[in-house]
């Protein structure tokens, strides 16, 4: 298992290097001149040149790249031009907001999709199977930003069931003591139920819109995978041995069927990281997606680089976790490594 971990880690290194190079090139090649942007509309050419020198943008690309690598090695992602804050600090404070939203949405999606998919496969052709089909079709055909806007309109504007889409907490509540950075966990740990419910109310709409989107591929894969496993020879053996239906479905069928579901789970998680950018914009969620969008609009290199790099590391970590999970479920993977 350790060998598997190390070999997978080793394969992750080139991807990280690639991402570092690409993020650097991409932000330099994007249209828009940050020096001109920060100098303001009425700035003289000298003022723009001054700012350019101050930002180090007058140097050649290789020189800029070396400087970038050196900074990176020191854990320095540069400062945001618009706020003047170090990017590392800003990402560190905003990442928990995105992580809480994404993980909550994912848990919600998995909690609904997997039982639904399993039931649809076991009771193929019944109403639950049709329900599964409707949910998956609806899920894939509704983009996250659309469901988000629709929910905000219906549940906040029309019905007034949900709070205003204005971030993680109502303005009258103060955030819980920082332990994990997840408001739900922190408030529960400190026993602050008022904040807990407040945070949950804010989280509900964005998380549900993301969950609906990610539910579809998960339920569909669970159903398909369960159906093919239920038709396999070893399930026939299990039934011929008189094993209880629960044992057949869960211990024998589901554990085998879960492998492709894990793969889809990884892909869905990646989608969700991307979808964050849109959902955070719709719900004014103070996560890293919103941060990146704002930085991109103002041609603020450092935060964009920081964002892409953080995402890349998350993707790599995620794929590593998926590989290891695979190894845990399937003994054949362990042997292959």
């Amino acid at each position: 298992m350790l060998k598997l971990l190390l070999s997978r880690l080793a394969t992750a290194v080139p991807s990280i290097v690639g991402v570092v190079v690409v993020t650097f090139m991409l932000t330099r090649l994007l249209p828009g001149d940050p020096a001109a942007y920060f100098a303001g509309l009425a700035a003289s050419p000298q003022a723009i040149a001054e700012i350019r020198t101050k930002l180090g943008l007058d140097k050649s690309l290789p020189e800029q790249f070396v400087g970038y690598i050196v900074d990176l090695a020191h854990g320095n992602l540069g400062n945001s031009l618009s706020t003047g804050q170090p990017v590392v600090t800003e990402i560190a404070t905003r990442l928990p907001a995105s992580a809480e939203l994404t993980l909550f949405a994912l848990i919600l999606a998995v909690g609904i999709a997997i039982p639904l998919g399993v039931l649809a496969a076991v009771k193929q052709g019944t109403w639950i199977d049709h329900l599964c089909r409707i949910v998956t079709t609806a899920g894939v055909s509704l983009p996250v930003f659309f469901t988000g806007l629709l929910f905000a309109y219906v549940f906040y504007y029309l019905l007034q069931w949900a709070p205003a889409p204005s971030g993680r907490l109502d303005v009258f509540l103060s955030p819980p003591t920082h332990i994990t950075g997840f408001y739900l966990i922190d408030s529960a740990l400190t026993g602050n139920m008022e904040v807990f419910w407040g945070a949950l109310r804010q989280l509900a709409l964005p998380a549900i819109s993301m969950a609906i989107f990610s539910l579809a591929p998960l339920a569909r894969m669970t159903r398909g995978s369960m159906l093919s496993v239920l038709g396999s020879d070893f399930i026939r053996t299990a039934r011929a041995s008189g094993l209880a239906p629960g044992t057949v479905v869960f211990t024998y069928a589901f554990r085998n069927a879960v492998l492709p579901v894990i793969t889809v789970l990884g892909m869905v998680f990646s989608f969700l990281l991307g979808a964050n950018v849109l959902v955070e914009t719709v719900f004014a969620w103070p996560g890293i997606g919103l941060y990146a969008v704002n930085a991109l609009i103002t041609s603020d290199y450092a935060p964009v680089q920081g964002f892409v790099l953080t995402m890349a590391v998350l993707y790599v970590a995620l794929n590593l976790a998926i590989d290891l999970l695979y190894g845990l479920v399937d003994p054949r993977v362990r042997l292959d490594s």
């Binding site: 020879d233 026939r236 299990a238 041995s241 008189g242 024998y252 003994p331 054949r332």
Partner: protein, 322 residues
């Protein structure tokens, strides 16, 4: 012949609903297996051997429906039992082993656990005793180094070893009847003999009745007391193995024997059986489903099939037997 047979299948008919119509896979199939007896079900692919077994075990595909018949086993009709009651019997009183042992075992569960699952389910052992009982079972099916092998996954074992594991699972609760569905298909010839000997010995030890499904008449003759020949969902002939080989009465049995390599026949002399199985979806299936391929067809062959008793243990369904 006065003793109650271990299994008596009577009048069993099975239909499969498919997109292209209803397939009459089994038509009034009947045979019986005495206690301790080994009976072979032989016939070419598609003759309904496996479906017969699946119907008796109650593990037919959902598209398959039993439309008539009884399967008397231990005083009860298996076909009339609820799924719940039948599941109690399966693996304990009647067991089944399959072809392709590698795919018939759960690929991601240790073989010892798979044996233990069956033991625990049928009260053959408690959860804590089960690992030791699994080792015992591996010893019974003569797997070397059983203490280590219980920890193995199917992909770490050879096909022959996997089939032994299958046998261990099937026999864990000492059933009264074992159905072996082409247990040696996909194994090499030396392993085939070893597996067949093992099944034979274990059956003999415990007085277990065995149904051996195969298309290999030579194998059937070597290991079985009696042979039931099936063709296109009909039982065409049933006779003691020796007698069937010496005096086949049904034209199909005779052709099947002529197509079987033996000591006296060389491969070049083997005859193939002309024609194929009839399309079982046809609404106008002839009474005798072999009549389309038969060289001995007479006018009577359009009448419902007879059951001609040659002697007490030899029955043939033909209007113009050999």
């Amino acid at each position: 012949m006065t003793a109650v047979p271990a299994l008596a299948v009577e009048d069993l008919s099975v239909e499969f609903r498919t997109r292209s119509g209803i397939v009459k896979v089994l038509d009034h199939v009947g045979f019986s297996v005495d206690k301790g007896e080994t009976v072979a079900l032989v016939g070419e692919s598609g003759s309904g051997k496996s479906v017969t077994a699946f119907a008796v075990m109650g593990i037919l595909d959902p598209a398959g429906k039993v439309t008539s018949g009884r399967a008397l086993f231990g005083g009860a009709d298996l076909l009339a039992l609820s799924e719940r009651d039948l599941a109690e019997q399966r693996g304990r009183e009647l067991s089944m082993i399959f072809q392709n042992p590698r795919t018939a075992l759960n690929p991601i569960r240790k073989v010892g656990q798979q044996i233990a699952d069956v033991l625990v389910r049928h009260g053959g052992a408690t959860r804590s005793d089960a690992p030791r009982a699994a080792v015992e079972m591996l010893k019974r099916v003569r797997i070397p180094d059983p203490e280590r092998r219980v920890e193995a996954y199917p992909f770490e074992l050879s096909g022959g070893m996997c089939q032994r594991i299958m046998i261990a699972i099937a026999l864990a609760c000492r059933p009264a009847l074992l159905i072996a569905d082409e247990p040696t298909t996909g194994l090499d010839v030396t392993t085939q003999a070893v597996i067949m000997d093992l099944i034979g010995e274990l059956a003999h030890e415990s007085g277990m009745a065995t149904i051996f499904i195969t298309h290999d008449l030579a194998l059937a003759a070597e290991y079985c007391d009696r042979i039931v020949v099936m063709h296109a969902g009909h039982v065409v002939e049933a006779a003691p193995a020796r007698e069937l080989f010496a005096h086949p009465r049904h034209p199909y049995s005779a052709k099947l024997l002529a197509a079987t390599p033996g000591e006296t026949v060389s491969l070049a002399e083997l005859a193939s059986i002309p024609g194929g199985l009839p399309d079982l979806r046809r609404p106008d299936l002839p009474a005798c489903r072999y009549s389309g391929r038969c060289e001995r067809r007479i006018d009577d062959c359009t009448k419902p099939l007879p059951h001609r008793v040659v002697d007490e243990r030899h029955v043939v369904s033909c209007w113009n037997p050999l």
